[in-house]
């Protein structure tokens, strides 16, 4: 292919001294630094870049920028790369997407043969019967035709993405002349400014303008880059504006990440994206060689690429007129200029793979390989929509304009109106000043309201009225569709004829039409298509454009990679002070909420047996621990627990259960009284945070008169449970100043003492495992020392660590229920067997009316101990208890294990009250469908129901 590269242009971006090698569909090409993928290929004579989604027609350059719907390509393992904006990098492997076997010979073109039958929505109207064909055949075929590139899901990794926060007073979206001017004046007014430009360099349309434009641009750039208060982000894009001016910026090609998401809390957002040139709808408008005026101007002036040799230009505006001059300067023969302002028109482009002729509105057929259209603009109002604005159509200017913006969002540049470069920059400057003044007022307020910042030295800046002189709205003909039909949506292959059909079928509002035809639903998200679609609908309905409205533009403004949205992926993990030791000593871990903790050290059954026979140690640090101080702690405990707390003596601990206001069991644990006004409360591991917040809620909003201070100490105290018949003997070797004898330190007591030389250890005697056991809470900085001392001093006693699994076995043998496992989201106090604990005669308890109501009921499920009659069968947890002869569900197994102590299977189960009596035989359906019988036990506890072992 011959080179289409032109002689040097004064405005060109390419560095001709460089040469970048890349491949396109396997073939080697060379481009320059500054080239986009598309410009380098176009310079090398490539004309076809993709195929249409439905009919697989060949597609060439249309807009030559980020929004070009025909330039989605695969680059290495990255799909859907915009070749119109992605800068060329040495070594890129670029290929066409959605073609098979090749871009040149694509079998999908067969669809064209049946195209007349594939009218819009055709798939809704067929394949209804027979159903198996839909499932087994048609659908599979449809899936094969899915468009887009290939994602490397097999071996890809998350990669190096990143995020950061920012707090600019003013953020300017768009670095054209108005945006740059706004940034400059905002900075001059004292605001910190973030200036975001989608292209790799500032300037907007000035970049492909004449010498005057380039001179202005040089001045603006120089001014911006010498203003420290402006952070310039090029090759970046504002992708969303959310409530309270939370603005998302996608920063591309930063050194630390290919894409980085910036989240900015912005005082004032200035929306200055310019305008997006709109394609024209006519027959053949998707043939390669049909280009927008902006596309040929960019190709010629930025990349020195000759876009064709014989051109017809349809112009409705100055951009079209300028394109004519650019084409001529590039040596392109301009065969005809059709002036749409004078009613001239194009009705059809013809050609296979490239335009060969153009039919004009007055019937002429012109030989040409390039048809350039300049038929008007779409205001990319996405960010304004996201700010709540509903832009209004102006018939005279033939585009939409902002209607009502909130104070913290301002528009300038082309989106706000028309003007010369001087007028646009003047409007930009005024906008920047206004934005800065509003933002500085907000900053002043924020400082005044924020205790860490000193009060502002100056008075609050006065509110300034918006006295900007609006930009004018230049008249522009309403050029949407010719007398022929053509494509409206290039990425979805939706034509104007499809839209008219849809309207006729009843899809006569823009939102319904969008859903039925998929117009504007493709990767471009309507940047090029929305206004044309509205125009065709207006035509079909014979109403004015203004009556149609537009579809709501939803974020993001431009697609964002999942990698950038995810960023570094922070997932906090909590570790006890002993976790390193566990991992070094063979623990298999378990993730429990944010905690990582040992499940077992190899043999959980042996670990459990060792606790029954000797002594074991378990790290239970994740237990929630709250330090409670103050004269009203007992009142608080009375309120939040179902039982009584006023008479708990210093040195004693007590078990408590909590219910929520709806009476459902919510948490439980042990609380001990360490001193007159000092308690330590424990909660379940998963409930620790919620219980803390709940206590604060009751103290702050319900009983602010109570004097209680709550301090979470979960991680500060490493909790070690020393359990087993020899636990006392072991502890006696290490504990100073506490008498551990049964009389001096009875069951359910607490003492503070020195363990292995570590002071301030809290020791309480409780029995979750059912054995004589002590829970030692050690200041965490010394926990490893205590743990290792216990192990080294107890080797003759058979001391060994045990994990969560052994603890589960032990507690089940003992019949202790676990909130959330043996109870569920509907379990009230009677279900959990709290009859003996609950006091209904208190003045107030959380959920008191529901507690009272629950104990009136006789239909609530009951938690029972259950033993399968065949002791070797352990029904899986969640196995259902059923009526013997039917599938009627009467309960379920909530916990089950093989008991090493009893050498038989044991369970806890929730059963219908009719089955709750001891000795009742129930039917359990196993996972494999077999049914077994099991017998309800008298107690929850299977081992030592009298509690003799823990009271020694």
């Amino acid at each position: 292919m011959s080179s289409h590269r032109l002689p040097i242009r004064s405005s060109e971006l390419i560095d001709r001294s460089t040469s970048l090698s890349f491949t396109w569909n396997g073939r080697a090409y060379v481009g320059h630094e500054g080239d986009t993928i598309a410009s380098a290929l176009a310079a090398a004579g490539v004309e076809v870049f993709s195929r249409g989604m439905k009919y697989h027609r060949r597609r060439g350059i249309l807009t030559a920028n980020h929004w070009d719907p025909n330039l989605s390509v695969q680059v290495g393992d990255e799909p859907n790369v915009r070749a119109g904006s992605r800068r060329l990098v040495d070594g890129m492997q670029v290929s066409a997407q959605n073609v098979w076997p090749s871009l040149r010979w694509d079998l999908g073109t067969a669809n064209r043969l049946v195209g007349r039958f594939l009218s819009v929505g055709f798939y809704y109207k067929t394949f209804m019967r027979p159903q198996f064909l839909w499932h087994n055949l048609y659908q599979r075929i449809l899936r094969k035709f899915a468009p887009g590139g290939r994602v490397n899901w097999k071996t890809g990794t998350h990669g190096e993405y990143d995020k950061r926060y920012a707090h600019p007073d003013v953020l300017v979206a768009g670095g054209g002349p108005a945006g740059v001017a706004a940034a400059l004046s905002a900075a001059e007014a004292g605001a910190s400014v973030m200036l975001v430009e989608q292209e790799p360099e500032l300037g907007g349309h000035l970049r492909w303008g004449g010498p005057d434009d380039l001179a202005v641009l040089a001045d603006l750039r120089q001014a911006v880059y010498s203003t420290p208060a402006i952070e310039v982000l090029c090759d970046s894009i504002v992708t969303g504006r959310y409530d309270h001016n939370w603005v998302a910026v996608l920063q591309r090609s930063h050194e630390v990440a290919p894409e980085r998401l910036i989240k900015a809390r912005v005082g004032s957002l200035i929306v200055a994206p310019g305008l997006v040139e709109r394609p024209y709808v006519f027959a053949g408008n998707d043939i390669p060689g049909v280009m927008l005026a902006g596309a040929v101007r960019r190709l010629i002036n930025l990349w020195a690429v000759k876009p064709g040799s014989r051109a017809v230009v349809l112009s409705a505006n100055s951009e079209g007129d300028a394109a004519v001059l650019d084409l001529e300067s590039a040596g392109v023969e301009v065969v005809a200029v059709l002036d749409a302002r004078a009613g001239e028109d194009v009705v059809e482009a013809r050609g296979r793979g490239r335009v060969s002729s153009v039919q004009t509105g007055d019937g002429r057929i012109l030989r040409a390989d390039l048809l350039v259209t300049a038929t008007g603009w779409t205001a990319p109002t996405s960010l304004l929509n996201m700010a709540g604005d509903r832009p209004v159509y102006d018939k005279v200017a033939a585009r939409y304009f902002p209607q009502a913006l909130p104070d913290n969002v301002l528009a300038t540049g082309g989106i706000a109106g028309d003007g010369s470069t001087t007028e646009l920059t003047a409007h930009g400057r005024e906008t920047g000043l206004l934005a800065a003044q509003r933002a500085l007022r907000l900053r002043h307020d924020r400082r005044a309201q924020t205790p860490r910042s000193p009060a502002p030295e100056s008075d609050r800046p006065a509110a300034i009225a918006d006295s900007r002189i609006p930009l004018r709205r230049s008249p522009h003909p309403e050029c949407y569709r010719s007398t022929t039909h053509g494509l409206v949506d290039y990425s979805e292959d939706v034509s104007s004829k499809d839209l008219i059909q849809a309207a006729g079928e009843g899809f006569d509002s823009i939102e319904l039409m969008k859903r039925y035809t998929t117009v504007t639903m493709g990767p471009g998200q309507g940047k090029l298509e929305t206004v044309n679609a509205a125009a065709v609908l207006a035509e079909a309905m014979a109403v004015e454009m203004a009556d149609i409205g537009t579809t709501v533009w939803r974020p993001p403004f431009s697609p964002v990679s999942l990698g950038a949205l995810a960023g570094r992926i922070f997932e906090p993990v909590r570790r006890s002070a002993l976790q390193d030791w566990h991992e070094a000593n063979g623990a298999t871990n378990l993730l429990a909420g944010q905690w990582v903790r040992p499940d077992h050290y190899g043999d959980p059954m042996a670990e459990a047996s060792n606790v029954r026979e000797n002594v074991g140690l378990i790290d239970v640090t994740p237990l929630g621990k709250l330090d409670l101080r103050g004269p009203d702690v007992a009142n608080l405990l009375d309120l939040v627990y179902v039982n009584r707390w006023q008479k708990l003596e210093v040195g004693r601990v007590r078990y408590g259960a909590m219910v929520a206001e709806d009476g459902v069991v919510s948490d439980d644990g042990v609380t001990g009284r360490l001193a007159e006004d000092h308690y330590l409360m424990t909660t379940t591991s998963s409930g620790a945070g919620a219980v803390w917040e709940m206590l604060e809620d009751w103290l702050q909003t319900y009983r602010p008169d109570w004097e209680v201070h709550v301090t979470p100490v979960t991680g500060g105290l490493t909790s070690i449970n020393v359990a087993g018949p020899r636990s006392r003997e072991l502890l006696e070797r290490l504990v100073d100043n506490v008498d551990l004898s049964a009389d001096a330190f009875p069951y359910f007591s607490v003492r503070t003492g020195i363990v292995a030389g570590v002071a301030d250890c809290i020791i309480w005697r409780i029995g979750f495992t059912g054995e004589l056991s002590y829970e030692v809470h050690v200041p965490s900085g010394h926990a490893l020392h205590v743990w290792e001392s216990l192990l080294s001093n107890g080797s003759d006693l058979g001391v060994a660590p045990f994990g969560i699994e052994a603890q589960r076995i032990l507690r089940l043998e003992k019949g202790h229920y676990i909130v959330g496992q043996d109870t569920d989201g509907l379990s009230k106090a009677p279900t959990a067997g709290l009859d003996g604990l609950v006091r209904l005669d208190k003045a107030d308890t959380i959920g008191l009316p529901e507690l009272r109501a629950a104990f009136e009921r006789t239909d609530l499920p009951v938690l029972v101990g259950l033993q399968p009659d065949d002791p070797t069968i352990v029904p899986d947890e969640a196995c259902q208890i059923v009526e013997a002869g039917s599938n009627q569900i009467l309960g379920r197994v909530t916990s089950s294990r093989m008991s090493p102590t009893l050498e038989r299977s044991i369970c806890l189960a929730q059963v219908d009250p009719s089955l709750a009596a001891a000795g009742t035989s129930v039917t359990v359906q196993l996972v494999d469908g077999r049914r077994i019988t099991a017998t309800v036990q008298e107690h929850h506890a299977h081992v030592d129901p009298e509690g003799a072992r823990q009271r020694v």
Partner: protein, 429 residues
Amino acid sequence: MSRHGYTYSAGKLLRHGLTRGAWPRMWNRPERRDSYDVIIIGGGLHGLATAYYLAQNHGITNVAVVDKGYLGGGGSGRNTGIVRSNYLTPEGVAFYDRSLHLYNTMAADLNLNVMLSRRGHLTLAHTDSALRTMNWRAEVNKLLDIDSAVIGPAEVKRLTPSLDVSPNTRYPILGALYHPPGGIVRHDAVVWGYARAADHLGVHLLQETEVLDITCDGGDGPDGKGPGGKVTGVRTSRGDISSPVVVNCTAGWASLISNMAGVPLAITTHPLQAAVTEPCKVFLPTVVVSGSLHVYVSQTDRGELVFGASVDPVGTYRVNGTLEFTEELAGHVLELMPGISKMRLMRQWSGLCDMTPDYSPIMGHTPVEGYLVDVGWGTYGFKAGPVAGETMAETIATGRTAELIAAFTIDRFTDGDLVGEKGAAAVGH
């Protein structure tokens, strides 16, 4: 099929293709009458299905469906089209299973291809307790004859190769509840199918007609509203319409409409967000849900990944979406499928969910005679649409609460008999 008017078929496609003839309207824009036998507020899936089954099953055709916007503009057009029946409670299972049956034959019943894709539905378990809940659901499902079972990581990998099932991730996949009949449906087509069929049976679809008030007589509250009274009609932006029966099918707006009748609801409105990526060649064959990671994902036949999450924690009627939703979503999706970080999110949107305390709907009669509710749909309204329409139609036509919805009555909140679906439904897709 003739009862639906113009019948679609491959032959018709051929004929229209050859003759280039125009297709008829799917539904009309009728002139409203001054009075109807039944007024259904809300032209989404539930309202349209109720109207269709009233006409089809019970011969009640003097029915109006009124909507403030266009058909299916609320949750029906904003959900992610997932259907399944592997619920936790027997009442939930029976209800949703009937819905799945109706979905299975819907294309033929309504003569519109709703593109049901029974591709299999995986609910991942990352923790012991999640696995226990999956087992619980599986065991209940089996007893009720639902095809649902817990499978291990290797089987998960076989069914969905793009998932990372290695044990060393932050959220290891310990197993999954596999539900082969679960899948996705083209949600808009379901709305259009019911709308078209109801319209052909004589139901009036009144779009762009906003209900401003419900008129009542004899109730305890102001203007005769509230318990003890009865409904007389509605005031709309296009005039008053009288009717002895008014049905509230307005999902996220249910409280606002119900307050008009003096019937407060146990509902708060929260947005549920969703998002879609640019298309890519198809690689994800199943529907994947992770409750712990608050995400569900499937890939459309067009190659787009469609994502959803759990409802936003802050109640609001705003549907403009949040950035943090997309951030968390992406982070969690990449935990499951680290290889797809270069796919790009193309569009996000949200719908409004009418959340109840027990993640179950509120259906049937209310203390105001003639005022019925079909609300509280939370995040599972799409799955239930057909059966909700069928049972509401039965309840309206017979005056007796349909058996399948007996557990979902409004009285359960005053009686303290909530439904136990909450544990399983936090991310209910």
